[in-house]
Amino acid sequence: MSEAEEIVLSELTLEDLYELMKEDLYDGLAAEIVEEVNEALSRGQTPYEVLTYGLVGGMEIVGNDFRDGILFVPEVLMAAKAMKAGMFILRPLLAETGAQKIGSMVIGTIKGDIHDIGKNLVAMMMEGAGFEVFDLGINNSAEAYLEAIAQHNPDILGMSALLTTTMPYMKVVIDTLKEKGIRQDLIVLVGGAPLNEAFAEAIEADAYCRDAAVAVETAKKFMQIRKGVQI
């Protein structure tokens, strides 16, 4: 391959800068994303603009190619790492400027299950889409979910399982929410390799999300309904 020409960030148009961010995100280049986020901010772009036109725009393409079987988990994880590097700069700025949050979510992998790849992708993509995300990590009991719900008062509860042996525990958590009388206060989204829509319906979750991109779309849709009703 011929020598690639050197890109000088400061010489790019704003449009090309965002284009480059999307491409570097797609290729999982974390250090490059950091440079580009800083460059965009130095040009007077708001943190929200950088998030939306650069990072979220880029992750949307990654999400679509993941859904379509063009990218697989390794590539998506590297893209998510690059996104995280960018978010590390943007997050405090977004908090300072009081950018509007779409909603909030408590998310965690279910008790007995340590698989968190899919769950991490969902957390990342949700944050990228403007949700406030509280990630409880792996191996969460019903009590752990309840505690986090009491603390953060989220709009959405997300649960993940990779094993057929752990997925039934989602029903235990939902049944506990019902017992405590808080099931109707929450949008419950579930996901993981062995799940499907019928399973989500049977355990009385609000929706099954096949992948991270679908999770974001579904969460947005439910938030619209929820806000519409509340206002």
Binding site: I7, L12, F72, H115, T166, P168, Y169, I203
Partner: protein, 326 residues
């Protein structure tokens, strides 16, 4: 020639067992509890599952040690008891095999660590290899005939597991299967062809596919392996369809008839080690054994045709970089 090859050549086709987890739930394992801990706390119930499979006709049974690496056991604060729990798992299966009136080999199940290797995650290749070596040591001490690496997604994790297994025993036959559950590939994007190409030279006795989320994709991956490594003994241990709740119970779409027809078809396509994974119980295994031995005719049920095998390498990305990075 090893004990597994010997049995395969003698019998032509061997029937494996079905799911362990769902059988333990049926015997009272709490949702979220540690199946591996039961090897010591409820050995008679674990043996009862093995016995049910042996009586159904299983010729190879897998130990209750799928989550038996320290990474998985940490979840239940059992990470310091890896060798002890795996040894007990092997002993439970060996007890059931010894009591059988037909020949039964015991395979030590080794599932994924659940961790990601560097650079995707934080686990080094060496840590991964050491974790599998530790598990394999317990299984070998407990008397397994085979080490059985299964439900893998990442080829490098499989390689680390093979090295770890080999460290535990220089001669023991080792088998490895991956789960093809994402567009006909493993979660990490590995195709059946890649599995065969990358693993065939590593001294394995058999390779194959297990778990997965549908029979056609698993079958397609096996066909690709067969093409890439025609001399390799192949394993099919597929899920009986997908899980769903029936009332408060988990049930699967795949009936014993479906699994029986499936067993016949994969056998005709060159697979010699055939069993079930999630959703298959002793009744499925019994039907598969009877169909394969010709005792009952192949059930006339329609099962989906094999899917198109996923192509190696990955499909072309839909974007060409417009701005080249130096």
């Amino acid at each position: 020639m090893n004990v597994l090859m010997d049995y395969v050549e003698q019998a032509g086709v061997l029937v494996l067992d079905g799911a362990m987890g769902t059988q333990l739930f049926a015997r009272g394992l709490a949702s979220g509890g540690s199946p591996e801990e039961w090897n010591l706390t409820q050995p008679e119930r674990v043996q009862d599952v093995h016995r049910a499979y042996v009586e159904a006709g299983s010729q190879i049974i897998l130990t209750n040690s799928f989550g038996g690496t320290r990474y998985r056991l940490k979840l239940h604060n059992l990470q310091e008891r890896v060798v002890e729990l795996n040894r007990a798992a092997a002993q439970n299966a060996c007890a059931a095999a010894a009591a059988s009136d037909h020949r039964v080999l015991v395979a030590g199940s080794m599932g994924p660590t659940g961790e990601l290797l560097i650079p995707m995650g934080t686990m080094s290749y060496e840590e991964c290899r050491a974790a599998f070596a530790e598990q394999a040591r317990g299984l070998v001490e407990g008397g397994v005939d085979i080490l059985w690496i299964e439900t893998m997604s990442d080829l490098n994790e499989v390689k680390a597991a093979i090295e770890g297994a080999r460290e535990a025993s220089a001669e023991i036959p080792i088998c490895a299967t991956m789960s093809f559950d994402t567009h006909g590939r493993s979660m990490m994007g590995v195709t059946g062809e890649q599995l065969a190409q990358e693993l065939a030279g590593l001294g394995l006795t058999a390779i194959g596919a297990n778990c997965g989320n549908n029979l056609p994709d698993t079958e397609a991956a096996l066909a690709a392996m067969h093409t890439a490594a025609p001399d390799m003994v192949l394993i099919a241990k597929a899920n009986a369809g997908m899980p769903r709740f029936e009332g408060s119970k988990l049930a699967y779409d795949g009936t014993p008839q479906v699994m029986g027809a499936y067993a016949d078809r994969v056998h005709r396509n060159g697979v010699q080690l055939i069993g079930g994974c999630c959703g298959s119980g002793p009744e499925h295994i019994h039907m598969m054994r009877q169909v394969l031995s010709g005792e009952v005719p192949v059930p006339q049920v329609s099962i989906a045709a094999p899917a198109e095998a996923a192509a190696t390498p990955a499909p072309v990305r839909n974007r060409e970089r417009r701005l080249r990075r130096g």
